[in-house]
């Protein structure tokens, strides 16, 4: 399995799990389906980009950094979207999104068959 597939699979899986934890916030339980779909898609995009990066650069540190940055960026985009209640959950979405991105970045570096890589320290 190549690194992009690893990113897509783990991004989707971890994104879905992250979205599912929204159930612990009663105010948004009515929107669980859309939250999980959105979180899964967010995870897949982060995973895709992290996997692509991992095919080019063989560095766990930079993989984690990039995953974190992507996770944070997309989590911000989701948190900033207009909501039915008008409330935004920046902290609740961005902080976990940041760490999920880091995990996906790490996993794409460790797993999957590499492409032609440029080795860094």
């Amino acid at each position: 399995m190549n690194k992009i597939m690893v990113g897509l699979i783990f991004g989707a899986l971890l994104g879905a799990i992250d979205g599912a934890t929204a159930w612990f916030t009663p105010e948004v339980r009515s929107m669980m389906a859309s939250i999980m779909v959105g979180s899964t898609i967010k995870g897949m995009i982060v995973g895709l980009l992290s996997g692509w990066f991992a095919r080019k650069v063989d560095s766990i540190q930079w993989g984690i950094v990039l995953g974190s940055v992507l996770g944070l960026a997309f989590a911000y985009a989701v948190a900033a979207m207009p909501s039915e209640t008008g409330q935004h959950y920046y902290l609740e979405i961005m902080l976990p999104g940041f760490v999920v991105g880091a995990i996906v970045g790490f996993l794409t570096q460790k797993m999957g068959t590499p492409g032609q890589v440029k080795r860094t320290s």
Binding site: T21, F24, T25, I60, I64, L91, E92, L95, P96, V99, V100, A102, I103, F106, L107, K110
Partner: protein, 275 residues
């Protein structure tokens, strides 16, 4: 006229020196003595380079032919072999600029470096075994660690060589498992006091008194060492559950930290909202 002990000693040394007339080598200095011969540093006048020259009785000349058959980065290359004017056999080989494995430990190298040297030795042995050649006298004194980290296995013994007691397998019949025994003894020798029990178990299994209880060959031992370095369980060592957990945690340290960070963030956010 009486000769002093010093003069007699000097005369003996001179008589012992190899007669290199007819060869392209110029003697420089004696490097060491073993059971089978003497090794000198010499100058190759044709190629203008330093070489090592091993001089021995003709009956041991098979050693040169043995090594010359083996082409491996861990086996010192033989440049030439022949017979000297004084009737002794010689072979010229690469002069390794480095230190013996037993002296290499004086620098207290880290475990990773010790295992690296050991693996290079194991690879050379595995290759030799695949060519039907046994070492028969593997020991730290027969391993050179070069200045740039290269590792050479030296002094390949021919039939009839008994080996060194501390590294010699107990059985009289010699085969690959005898070298496995010596390799296990070498591993035990190279390990620091604080070595993990899994590595000691690998050495112990390689040094089992019964050949059938040892690893079947060098590739099997090397795989075990590689598994240890990858943080995987080794066949020789029976872990308890706690050791298994610790090994898993060490192998997946970064991932566990990240998962822990995620759980901690979720936990804190949940309680911050509740409070």
């Amino acid at each position: 006229m009486e000769l002093s002990d010093r003069i007699v000693r000097h005369l003996r040394e001179v008589v012992d020196l190899p007669d290199l007339s007819g060869t392209r080598y110029e003697l420089r200095e004696e490097l060491g003595r073993g059971g089978l011969g003497v090794v000198y540093a010499a100058w190759d006048a044709h190629l203008e380079r330093r070489v090592a020259l091993k001089v021995m009785d003709v009956e041991w000349a098979g050693e040169a032919r043995l090594i010359a058959r083996l082409e491996h980065p861990g086996i010192v290359p033989v440049y030439e072999a022949g017979t000297l004017a004084d009737g002794r056999a010689f072979y010229a080989m690469k002069l390794v600029d480095g230190t013996r494995a037993d002296l290499f430990l004086a620098g207290d190298p880290p475990l990773g470096e010790r295992l690296r040297v050991l693996e290079r030795v194991g690879e050379a042995l595995a290759y030799a075994h695949s060519c039907g050649v046994l070492h028969r006298d593997l020991k730290p004194q027969n391993i050179m660690v070069g200045r740039f980290g290269e590792v050479y296995v030296m002094d390949w013994a021919v039939d009839g060589v008994a080996g060194t007691p501390a590294f010699r397998a107990p059985e009289s019949a010699v085969d690959e498992r005898s070298d496995v025994f010596a390799f296990g003894a070498l591993l035990a020798f190279l390990l620091p006091q604080s070595a993990p029990p899994a590595l000691r178990a690998i050495a112990a299994k390689a040094m089992s008194a019964q050949p059938e209880e040892r690893y079947p060959g060098m590739p099997a031992v090397l795989r075990e060492v590689e598994r240890f370095q990858d943080g995987l369980a080794v066949e020789a060592y029976d872990e308890n559950p706690w050791q298994r957990v610790r090994r898993f945690a060490k192998r997946n340290e970064v991932l566990l930290w990240l998962l822990g960070a995620y759980a901690a963030i979720k936990f804190l956010l949940f309680f911050a909202r509740v409070i």
